[in-house]
Amino acid sequence: MKASQAFEFVTASYLIRISGREAGTLAELQQGIEGCSDASIFYHTFQSLGRHHFLNGGFSNDFAQWVLGSCNRPVLAERLASLDIRNYVAVADLRADLVQILAGYAQANPQEGTHNAFENFFFCETIEEEIPLGAAWTLEEFRARLTELPHASLQFHFITSRLRLHLHTNDFSHWFSEVLGLHSLARSVDRIDIYTTTLDSARDRIVALVDREASR
């Protein structure tokens, strides 16, 4: 069945810009997060998860990783890592929650804010170049394209889509639900946990769900 609107596959190629802002203590990290650009928050959270797509757990965002690895503060690292980017459709909300966690920790542990880290944290930013990869008009065409989609494109549609759509979903589920009317498939795809599976495993799971839908 041909859809009324095609799924437009896009890939994104990212440049990393060095912002010049850095942090050597937890207090400086908080100040940095408060003052850095949205592109910087995006790079160290949404984009960071995508960059480590081959890990099936243990990595959430750059801030948590630095607090653990360079500041040796596992409790704070765990709190920062527990922020689930799927709950955010705006960078401002994510920034506010990061700051709230750091401020809360600083209040409870005032002596730790000025301890020097082993290595500084360097704030960077993402610059995104989008490139169209073609369209799929049917579920079969969608499946065929999905199996050979590069990681950057998967990341674009499956992880960073929320900020673009301003919806709590991904591009694939949005198309399944809004264009094809396949609400159950959309929900199943949206439930795939990107924190505990690799991007390749997520792709395999989506393909299996599409196959199951097609066989009905």
């Binding site: 810009r17 060095i18 081959f54 082993f118 290595e119 590069p150």
Partner: protein, 410 residues
């Protein structure tokens, strides 16, 4: 130990498909398609020897294969010019600078000669390192983009040299650094391009088991007992004596061997002294193999890394640490110091183990020798990390994206 024919053969883009996936190669072609008709010029100071020339020798043919017009020009100069640029190079990295004011004139005079000799009409011009910096004086009026690719650490330069070069740098449209820690506050945008390795080069390509066995036999290394290896120059910042001490702590519990392989001892008095210290620390232990290798030992290094149970990089100071990248690519568990560019590559307990002391290094080595399944998983995840971020094809992609960015900015 000579360079083999494999090393000199130029790799084709499709040769990388089995390592990266056909989708990634297709995506590179799509990116390049957006730049159709545009021209690129790379300029550096040498066509052979050194990491920059090695990298350009591989990147330029790959970009050509993407149907983009790319030209690689090399500046020329007399011994006096290269003595000055060598002094600049050291001073920019925090070393001392004791040349006269005349040296700045020498630099400018040769830059003038190169400006007269070279053509500057590309859409995107990339100048590598400080030697050709003053060519920016030849930038034509118009819309083409000039980018400075800095391969060195600029964090603490000698002020006199920096004050001379900074006005040239700030006339570029952007600067590229290998690490945010190497950058400086500049009025132009700064971009991050990680260093990369070529998986098809002699140092990193797959090797047949018999080649590895032959090289182990040549160095009298037992293939049936665990091998710990650190590959690096015999330099105090690489802490080879600390590595021997860590091995000695491990040796109490595991019947293992240590390989310290590197160069830098023949032409460097300090290297020779460090090598002596290492030999003294090693004593008469027949399981410590200290190998001072010539620069053309890529195959031997490859085999030693592939034969290793664990790769070490217990440096006290480090740039990016490409030996870590090489070890990770070979799916080896790596134990390395949490300094410089190493934490970018080693996510602790995910793609390797970080340490802060020789005792810590010894503990992580013992842990990995006791838990081979964990060691294997770290190696596999480390390989994926390199595949995703630190291969030469990724840098081709970064360049294409940067050019697209400048194009859209216009």
């Amino acid at each position: 130990m000579s360079q083999s024919a494999t090393e000199s053969r130029v790799s084709r883009l499709d040769d990388y498909a089995h390592l990266l996936g056909a989708g990634e190669i297709a995506e590179l072609r799509t990116l390049a398609g957006r730049l159709e008709g545009r021209t690129i010029q790379m300029i550096n100071s040498t066509s052979v020897g050194g990491g920059v020339a090695e990298m350009l020798n591989r990147i330029v043919p790959l970009v050509e294969e993407l149907n983009l017009a790319i030209r690689w020009d090399v500046i020329t100069g007399g011994d006096d010019f290269f003595a000055v640029t060598k002094a600049f190079h050291n001073a920019l990295q925090g070393g001392c600078f004791d040349l006269s004011d005349e040296s700045f004139q020498t630099f400018l005079a040769y830059s003038e000669q190169n400006r007269a000799r070279l053509r500057f009409d590309a859409d995107f011009t990339v100048i590598h390192d400080p030697q050709p910096l003053a060519l920016i004086d030849s930038r034509p009026a118009g819309a083409n983009a000039w980018i400075w690719r800095c391969h060195i650490d600029l964090a603490k330069p000698v002020r006199r040299v920096w004050d001379f070069l900074a006005p040239y740098i700030e006339r570029f449209d952007g600067a590229i650094f290998s690490s945010p820690a190497f950058a400086r506050q500049l009025r132009i945008p700064q971009y991050l391009f990680y260093p990369s390795i070529d998986p098809l080069s002699e140092k990193n390509r797959e090797l047949e088991p018999e080649v590895i066995e032959g090289i182990l036999a040549e160095f009298q290394i037992d293939p049936h007992r665990p091998v710990l290896t650190q590959v690096s120059r015999f330099d105090r910042w690489k802490d080879p004596v600390g590595v021997v001490r860590a091995y000695q702590l491990v040796k109490r519990y595991f019947d293992c061997q240590l390989v310290l392989a590197g160069g830098g001892a023949d032409d460097d008095p300090e290297g020779e002294a460090v090598l002596s210290e290492v030999r003294e620390a090693a004593g008469k232990d027949p399981d410590i193999h200290v190998l001072s290798l010539p620069p053309w030992s890529a195959l031997e290094i490859n085999a030693l890394q592939r034969a290793s149970s664990i790769i070490l990089q217990k440096s006290l100071r480090e740039g990016f640490g490409l030996t870590v990248t090489e070890g990770l690519w070979k799916k080896k568990p790596v134990v390395a110091s949490a300094i410089g560019g190493i934490p970018v590559q080693i996510i602790h307990k995910q793609t390797g183990m970080l340490c802060h002391s020789l005792e810590g290094a010894a503990y992580q080595i013992r842990y990995l020798l006791s838990n081979p399944a964990i060691a294997q998983k770290l190696g596999e995840q480390g390989h994926e990390h390199v595949r995703e971020h630190f291969l030469i094809t990724r840098n081709v992609r970064r360049y294409l994206t940067l050019f697209l960015h400048f194009l859209h900015r216009e």
